[in-house]
Symmetry: C2
Subunit: 373 residues, 2 copies
């Protein structure tokens, strides 16, 4: 079961308010999905994810295939039961990590051969294999296997690549067995509008439960990413959710919601947290700076996350400088809460028909810089 309902369309922008329903519950859109790489959103428990308001998380097929393996996860009754998360899960196809992490990639019509970045063993991933793994993981939303081209990339190569991505998408759809698992198609096409249009049309033609825009936020200019997103969403059906993969900064999320995107995922809040970079309503704050040594202020006075309700910048700085694991946890809780509150506020703004003003105000606020407040 998977059903998307479009609740409202913004009048001044392409922003949309909606929700989708899965076997594990409902998800409101626009949504941000924390990344649970290898069966854990790094540093936090499922209960903490619920506390920060997470409605859905992402699992990485590549990582879970390597460790502990989909058969182990399946033995425990699927990913939800294994990691004790009873809300929706989206799994990627494994493709992105194959193209970015693994070694010795060899792409043929049949699939992609690569070596594990952990122990170097050879793996052959096909569209059918990706769906088989995701079926065993038991995610609510599966993604088709696509070829992720680097940026920049020759147009001639991208042209051939989107055709392969289309053929693989078809094979994924044919390989899908569980009715209750949704399957999303992925539009590729690099930074070439005509190829994005062609890819979108071909993928939509096959027919999926939702549509992702892949291959962005891989090194191109922000403006270009926004333009391609804006252009691409025009070729996606209104009655299906749109998912911009691997994006992005708080600014990116605001900009891309206004260009018609409903779903986002990114390691930025979690990874940056572990590097001491915190998101606040006034922009970025670097917790390790000397200036916070004696500060008894919370990270963000406008935030009511567990970290901000309890701990000072001074203490968080100390923990971070001392290499304490607690620092990574508390920073992660704050950053996830920030991202999830941002999309919640975005939904409210669309509901109240003031999204454009809300977006403008937020973008102005972010420019101040958390280190200056």
């Amino acid at each position: 079961m998977f059903r998307f309902t479009l609740v409202k369309k913004d009048k001044k922008t392409k922003a949309r308010l909606g929700f989708f329903e899965t076997l594990h519950g409902k998800v409101e859109t626009p949504i941000f999905m924390p990344v649970g790489t290898a069966g854990s959103v790094k540093t936090v428990t499922p209960d903490e994810l619920k506390d920060v308001g997470a409605q859905i998380i992402l699992g990485n097929t590549y990582h879970l295939h390597l460790r502990p393996g989909e058969d182990v996860v399946n033995h425990f009754g699927g990913l939800h039961k294994f990691i004790r998360w009873d809300r929706p899960i989206l799994t990627d196809s494994g493709g992105f990590q194959v193209f970015s992490l693994a070694e010795l990639k060899n792409i043929t019509e049949e699939g992609v051969t690569f070596r594990s970045h952990l122990d170097g063993h050879k793996i052959f991933l096909t569209p059918e294999k990706s769906i088989e793994i995701q079926s065993k993981l038991g995610s609510d939303i599966m993604m088709v296997l696509d070829e992720c081209v680097p940026y920049p990339c020759e147009k001639e190569y991208v042209k051939k690549s989107i055709k392969l991505t289309t053929r693989w998408a078809k094979r994924c759809k044919e390989a899908k067995k569980n009715q209750w698992q949704a399957l999303f198609g992925i539009v590729q096409g690099g930074v070439y509008e005509d190829l994005r249009k062609q890819s979108a049309e071909e993928i939509v033609e096959i027919g999926f439960d939702g549509y992702a825009i892949g291959g962005l936020s891989v090194g191109e200019e922000n403006r270009l990413m926004y333009d391609i997103t804006d252009f691409t969403t025009d070729y996606l059906p209104e009655d299906r959710p749109r998912y911009l993969m691997g994006v992005g900064t708080p600014e990116d999320i605001l900009e891309c919601v206004s260009r018609g995107v409903d779903m986002f995922d990114c390691v930025m809040p979690t990874r940056n947290a572990r590097n001491g970079l915190l998101f606040t309503s006034y922009g970025k704050l670097h917790i390790k700076r000397e200036q916070w040594k004696l500060s008894d202020k919370p990270i963000d006075e406008n935030c009511n996350c567990y970290t901000c309700k309890n701990f000072s910048r001074g203490y968080l700085r100390h923990l971070f400088k001392a290499g304490e694991i607690l620092a990574l946890r508390l920073n992660t809780i704050h950053n996830l809460h920030f991202y999830i509150s941002l999309v919640k506020d975005i939904r409210n703004a669309i509901r109240k028909e003031c999204f454009e003003e809300f977006k403008k105000e937020k973008l102005e606020m972010f420019k101040i810089g958390g280190d200056n407040v």
Copy 2:
């Protein structure tokens, strides 16, 4: 304010049931104190410490002096406020870390000079300085600065050393300013009974709020540690708590409670957790073992900690093998819960006048081995 109340003495062993009161609340004895090295019991929050039942934690003066420095902690209103822990805190004198971690130690009558293990800068620690730091940290119980001799150690050296420790203890007592902070003396004397007796008599003569047995669990045989503890508690007053510093395994705690000890601290539950070694009612369990790959059992079926209530050995093994921080957290919660439940059960057994049987049964159970259950 510090007051110790002896509630009950076991009839068959030297075990005691009691409690002490501090400005930050009451602590029941026998008690185990989790170690909060540098302003954090590694990996866990204050709320999680309360969830596992911690009544008091320990802070390391050496670590806190180096980072963030006692003046920073004092700026925030002391250690309780800085780390957001509103229950009692005991701080050590810094001596133990100076003798075990720091470099280039030079001991004189005045104090000890050493170099920071972090950046090599030279520090001069005296009895007065240790008390000054602990006053600024604002712990409920301070410890006197003592000389920690290694094991083995020549008797002639230990003989001179305990005299220095006595003189330093006196200076600590004189340096103490805050009435509300308790100060414990420390008995040294290595493995020599006559020197332990002499040290105990001299330290008790000065008069402290409680008495610690120092310099044990530093490499000597268990049996010897138990014998020295047994011997030493006979020279300590009944109406003051006795604290066996840095001890130990669950077996050590049972053995030393039965020899008259009221307080324990050790990094074992937290450090072992981070190394994948878990304590169970059937003894030690190694979570990374292949045998747990498909196990849906909790770590310990007799345990009701957050980890055991929610997660399988199979998942915990996966998290640990994948290097996930969540593994370290969940393991730590379990091990701390185990230690704190053990002393709670010990208190109940003394209350019900069945401590000796309880101890025998526990020691038998531990021999089975958690990996065999």
